[in-house]
């Protein structure tokens, strides 16, 4: 019943094994987080799932189909990726950027519906007000929102986010993840902040040295022993819908704006 099933996924760069024997499942409508120390292979897994790299072994199944066997346009209608940091020097407006997400859903001769879809995506991402701003005038947080809107415009079955909160201050980190949760789309997100992962994910996959060391519901995964084992720290994280708490605290006290 998973939308996304990954089995025995391996990827090597030359002789170096970067990712090996990764299994993971993402249930429809859930937010699944991949966490782990730097260099544990999180981003590589996300790129493999996005079909941007060809696995050296293993499968990425989307429903019944192997992602790596899908033609590029079909693949882009099924999975959408928000990269960690992707910028441009060109004077594109936010609307132009979001329209890139419609590439696989229109053709040079059939642009009908593109504008409406772009508007819808901008609105879902809380970025309608940014539509006519040019890329360089947007702040880091606004740029991430526009990237998210671009990914939403692809109308994918699975949304892939690679550390979407990097380079953002705490308020914008919380705002973005709150937004992702409230969308209710099937999402696989790489995060490095445990607190944020605990607060925003239904399920967690913990990676270390290129493979999955633990996975399951967030409460079960985040035990003190795991933190000690994988991250080499003693700490505990409790989940009491922390994100909502943080979110309401924030909205009550600061001038953070942008999302609903």
């Amino acid at each position: 019943m998973s939308v996304l099933r990954v089995r025995g996924l391996c990827w090597s760069a030359g002789d170096r094994r970067i990712v090996h024997d990764v299994d993971l499942d993402v249930a429809p409508g859930s937010v699944t987080g991949i966490i782990g120390p730097n260099g544990s292979g999180k981003t590589t897994v996300l790129h493999l799932v996005a079909g941007l790299r060809r696995p050296s072994a293993g499968t990425v199944l989307l429903g019944e189909d192997d992602v790596t066997a899908l033609p590029p346009r079909e693949r882009a209608r099924r999975v959408a990726l928000v990269e960690q940091k992707a910028g441009t020097d060109l004077d594109l407006t936010a609307r132009d950027v979001v329209a890139l997400g419609r590439f696989a859903r229109s053709s040079p001769w059939h642009r009908a519906g593109t504008e409406a879809a772009v508007d819808r995506a901008l609105s879902l991402a809380g970025a309608s007000g940014l539509a006519d701003r040019t890329w360089v005038t947007l702040s880091g947080g606004e740029q991430q929102r526009v990237h998210l809107a671009r990914a939403l415009a692809q109308e994918p079955q699975v949304l892939l986010l690679d550390e979407p909160t990097n380079h953002l201050d705490l308020a914008h980190q919380i705002g973005l993840l709150h937004l992702v949760r409230s969308l209710g789309w099937t999402t696989l997100v790489v995060l490095h902040d445990l607190d944020l992962a605990a607060a925003s994910c239904d399920e967690l996959v913990v990676m270390d040295a290129g493979t999955v060391v633990r996975s399951g519901p967030t409460e079960e995964v985040l035990g003190a022993d795991l933190l000690g084992d994988v991250f080499g720290v003693r700490a505990s994280v409790r989940r009491e819908d922390r994100l909502r708490m943080l979110w309401h605290g924030l909205v009550g006290t600061s001038s953070w704006e942008g999302a609903r």
Binding site: H47, A50, L52, P71, P72, R73, E74, R75, A76, R77, A80, L81, E83, A86, G87, T88, L90, D91, L92, D96, V97, A99, L100, G101, F103, A104, S106, P108, R150, Q154
Partner: protein, 292 residues
């Protein structure tokens, strides 16, 4: 209008104007495509070693033989052959095992082959060439529409038509490269295939223009930048306007080349450089101001 004027207009001027418009449009479009695909603002249609390969081909034809070749279509054919061979070497050097053409490798391969071609050209001139050859080669590398005949103009117009249709169809694909290759792939672009088709296609079109009228610089580099200033970087608007602007600019440049000096033509490449270089400097300064 007398018979003579009639003949001048229809047999000399018209082919020349058509050829200039076609070459200008092709070079401007090729420049826009190269700049977008390789994510490099200094990319131009001759980036992949084409002009120096063509120069080498031309100089070999002028030096070794084919004395009858000197100004006729044989010279153009030799130049085009040189251009295509240089392109093949660049692609062989740049292509990855998996078949991709990574931008930086492609640019470096182009620079290497261009240097090699220039060295070969100099060597041939120094060792084997007469003073006359050196002069002819120099004149050829600056470009001219003076020898264009009606059938040349027709071929160039057909190439231009083909390039316009193919490149305009790829407008949205080129847009998708704004955030780099990974991003283009993630929105559904078949990056290796598109890169090969568009780079090789535009390079071949540029090679045809080089064979016909020599390598005319600056139009392919500067026109897309100018048009971007006016209509922005979205290719749906950038490409049609670059086509028009390139065609117009080249017709003007050729008119100037023909009529500035009273009884001799100046090479059209000199005109485009005289206009293009200051424009490029102005663009760079503007950009420096913006990013500071």
């Amino acid at each position: 209008m007398g018979v003579l004027e009639d003949q001048i207009v229809w047999q000399l001027r018209l082919p020349r104007v058509v050829a200039a418009a076609a070459v200008g449009a092709v070079l401007a479009l090729c420049g826009a495509v190269m700049q977008s695909l390789l994510a490099n603002e200094l990319a131009d249609p001759f980036l992949l070693g084409i002009s120096s390969g063509a120069a080498l081909g031309a100089v070999l034809a002028l030096t070794f033989g084919l004395s009858g070749v000197a100004a006729g279509p044989g010279l153009g054919a030799a130049a085009m052959l040189g251009a295509v061979l240089a392109l093949a070497v660049v692609l062989a050097l740049a292509a990855e095992a998996g078949g991709g053409l990574p931008p930086v490798r492609t640019i470096l391969a182009g620079v290497a082959v261009a240097q090699l071609g220039a060295a070969g050209t100099s060597l041939v001139i120094m060792v084997f060439g007469s003073r006359d050859t050196a002069r002819q080669v120099l004149a050829w590398t600056l470009g001219s529409f003076a020898g264009v005949r009606a059938d040349d103009a027709l071929v160039l117009a057909a190439v231009a038509g083909l390039v316009v249709v193919c490149v305009l169809t790829a407008a949205r694909t080129l847009d998708a490269f704004a955030f780099g290759e990974t991003s283009a792939r993630s929105v559904g672009v078949d990056v290796p295939r598109v890169t090969w088709l568009l780079l090789v296609g535009t390079a071949l079109a540029a090679a045809v223009t080089v064979g016909a009228v020599g390598p005319i610089g600056f139009v392919g580099l500067v026109v897309p930048h100018l048009v971007r200033l006016v209509v922005g970087p979205v290719h749906r608007r950038l490409l049609p306007l670059s086509t028009l602007a390139g065609a117009l600019l080249m017709v003007w440049a050729d008119t100037a080349a023909r009529s500035v000096a009273p009884d001799r033509e100046i090479p059209v490449g000199v005109v485009t450089a005289l206009v293009g270089a200051p424009v490029l400097v102005a663009l760079l300064r503007r950009q420096a101001r913006r990013s500071s």
